[in-house]
Symmetry: C2
Subunit: 196 residues, 2 copies
């Protein structure tokens, strides 16, 4: 079904154009017209793909989430316990320009989700997947003796997730061009705390 | 100077109206017209106080930050070390409806700050104040023997701040009416980790 594949690809091109525009101009200035122009589409040619800017934002968020999950799957392949947990968190942390740009997509999505129950549910379902993965890694690490704290795994996973989300804000609001924010040191510090 | 006091009070009335409207309709639907209506102002009467919605949002964010700091000053008065750190964090965590509503103001502010260097600087300066307070409490707690981890205080304060910021997102995007999110358990778990 070559036509369907082509449509999928055009959607991804639009998402990439959306990113560049949002990163450059902010979400409010990212009009459908600007995005069409950036992607090399005629004005109005976006409608069959994304009837509204809101649909495009939801798709872009889903795409960021999927892409992050693909990277996570790669780096955690064959890993368990603390090594898997570290690799997972490093992939989510905004440690380079690409992931800082992703944070710039995710924050506007959160803002929209405050008054949009469907978007809020997408966020919560995504985070529940991550929490489940982190709890699994923590249980493995505990079995291996690398996690020894009396604090339970659900609380630890919750702390770590909020730490990762807070890091998105720190990165998106850092001075232009500043990539080093001590986030990796924070992660290593947290992993150290688990083993004492 | 009774006139100045009156203007300050009207600004605060407008901020309260802005909150109610944002919490109810979301930031994009919170027009200056809606806010004027909610506050009982004639349309156009807002202009002398806040020329643009952006000015109003910046003022509202500053007000949330100041109000949180006033509550922090009250609950940490006479406290030091771990007790002060706990009281500080409990005040910042969105544990009740009032503070969940504050999270609904803060997230749109962050979103605006992504493409507005002045707002981003306000955020960073505010967070630097909080980090300095947390580092001071951690140093006191270390002196008292309540913090014994080898992880340094700057990394610990950074972790804790990101945990508090991530908690704002969890709370603002929780299902309607759900206040209990395990955030207090996360905080207590983190404080336990510091002492082992």
């Amino acid at each position: 079904m070559p036509k369907i594949v082509d449509h999928d690809q055009r959607r991804l091109e639009l998402v990439d154009a959306t990113w560049r525009i949002i990163a450059r101009l902010g979400i409010e200035s990212a009009t459908m017209r600007e995005i069409a122009l950036e992607a090399g589409f005629a004005n109005g040619a976006l409608k069959p793909y994304f009837p509204t800017k809101d649909d495009l934002l939801t798709f872009a968020f889903g795409h960021v989430f999927n892409r992050t999950n693909e990277r996570i799957a790669e780096v955690t392949a064959g890993q368990v316990g603390l090594a898997a947990l570290r690799a997972f968190c490093v992939e989510v942390l905004p440690l380079d320009e690409e992931r800082i740009n992703e944070a710039r997509i995710v924050i506007p999505f959160w803002q929209k989700a405050i008054n949009d129950p469907d978007k809020a549910r997408i966020h919560r379902d995504s985070m529940e997947q991550w929490l489940a993965a982190m709890r699994r890694y923590l249980a493995e690490a505990r079995y291996a003796g690398a996690v020894t704290t009396a604090v339970n795994d659900a609380a630890l996973a919750g702390q770590l997730l909020n730490l990762l989300l807070g890091a998105q804000i720190a990165a998106a609001l850092a001075p232009e061009g500043q990539v080093e924010l001590g986030l990796n040191e924070q992660l290593e510090g947290f992993l150290t705390l688990l083993g004492c």
